[in-house]
Amino acid sequence: MKRVLEHAVRWLLTASGFVTSAVILLIIGFLFTEGAGLFREHVIEEGYVLALNRDNPVKEMSAAEIKAVFDEDIVSWKDLGWKDIPVETFRLEDIGRYFTEAELGPQYEHAGSAIAGLVSSHPGMIAFVPESMIPQEAGLNFIEDSTISFSEVIAGPEWFPTATPAPLFGMWPLLAGTLWVSLFAILIALPFGISIAVYMAEVASEKVRNFLKPVIELLNGIPSVVYGFFGLIVIVPMLQRVFGLPVGESGLAGSLVLAIMALPTIVTVAEDAMRNCPRSLREASLALGATKWQTISKVVIPSSMSGIASGVVLGIGRAVGETMAVLMVTGNAAVVPTTILEPLRTIPATIAAELGEAPAGGAHYQSLFLLGVILFFITFFINLCVEFISSRGKVRNS
């Protein structure tokens, strides 16, 4: 009986030991299955076609071109590889402009043939209509509907997931926004983080240290929405005044908030590393007549470099993944940032802001899961870096 219990407990403990690994596998599995579905979706909204005049030889258009055509950024077919004929767009909402209700019939039963006739008589027209409406024998050309391509998603310069007829899922602006805001956050946090870590580990008296340690822990404990709220109420208007910006919600506001949030991680890890620096090294340096500061800068910091570096990398990971604070203060404009003072949008903020509105199972929904996959792998990579850096440090120190 006792032995059975021992064995049962042993198995239970073993099983729970592998729970984290299982969760990671589940996260990868679920995010991937949802996210990969995006590449099976078609560029043009499901059930719809883009109908062209029979004379129009254009066969393929990318999602960006379709959007440009319907936004009237492209006005001539010459840009799409045909002759110089103005582009006329037609959406179902425009039907009242061309036909009276009597022509369409009380149940709109003639609408399909009416549209087909309209497209046949206008050589430059492109019509975005439901596939089922167009009669088989209409004799129109259609834009070939391809699936969403990988390169257009990863490197595409425009994120416009709700555009019709062809949503744009270019993730580059979001990726750039994430990296941009995190980079500045780390640049701000780094001098503070290292200084405080050195101060706490080497300089401060026990009393000061006992005061600073809870301060850092509290900074770590304050919820991200509270930082976001503080940023929104205090930092955003302040930046607007100081830099004379049209809107205060900017990358810099995000970076400042993220810097405060990443700071505790950097300080804790770096301080730990410096405290673990062997006493003998320190004493040898002091015995040679070096000052305390010389000892710190020439001996302690170099020897605990791997720990400091892991702290910084962990801080970057924290900044990259932070959602709520960034969502509240960066203004969420999905454009590739050129300065830090303009609104930008990060990957986590995009997921948080848009998942609630995206219909489950649609291309938009899947694209947000794909963003999740990208985010997961960025942080996964960062963690592996930390692991690598600190294991190298251990080898060197032993």
Partner: protein
Amino acid sequence: MDRNSTGVKAGSPSYPSGYSRRKRRSQNAAFAVFRILSIFIAAVLFAILGFIIWKGAGVISWDFLTQAPSDGMTSGGIFPAIAGTLLLMLGSAIVAFPIGIMSGVYMNEYASKGWVVSFIRLMTNNLSGVPSIVFGLFGMALFVKYLGFGDSIIAGSFTLGLLSLPLVIRTTEEALKDIPAGIREGSLALGATKLQTIWKVVLPMGMPRIITGLILSLGRVSGETAPILFTCAAYFFPQLPSSVFDQCMALPYHLYVISTSGTDLEAQQPIAYGTALVLIVIVLAINLLAGFFRSLFEKRLKMK
């Protein structure tokens, strides 16, 4: 120690004159910079706390804490949000604590040291680095959609529980690691089985530190918004939830919605300050509690 070392006269002729004064001056400058930056950060913390306490204190009243929001969230209290946050903390504790402690015990007491432990530790570290919004996506895909819980307290609790798991595991492991092997061996030598040793000797000794870790993980859970955005949180759900399959309001989410969207941002602002203050007070209380347990533990250790 430093005074003496810097005060040594540069006896050797190879030192340029004034070297010892210069090196002391650069030390003073560097330390002054460190001190100023540290004070600055402490000031930032107190500015944030002070600002929220100053603005929020006037809002807090008995009604604010015990009433549901009314008039399209422009007046009334935040009671459902407080209750929801406490429920989510409880739910995530039920999910994370047993599994996390067992996992920590396995890593320290059972697993063969070597690749198994380092693999699990790697995975645990990775999991703790996963952004909270990814947990939200995962919770939505697995608990809300795949298992069919819908937007519910149970889905939110599982998501938050998995999020706090790495913290629980790590603190458990660290608490047990510091218990001397001799104590285990003593128990085993008296004829106790391994399980008895863990249950009667190892766990009780590690308990204060484990509890500190558990409390801190609760603090983390109480402030998380992103994981519950799509798994649990309700914009407006004025009554108390009646089952674990109900949605609920939560303080962090409530703060987010009333400070960024709504019918009348001006009128909502006092409520936002009040909500932020309640949230901060919960976090402060949890940190104090954890600190109390830690000092209790240190005192006990000193007595031995």
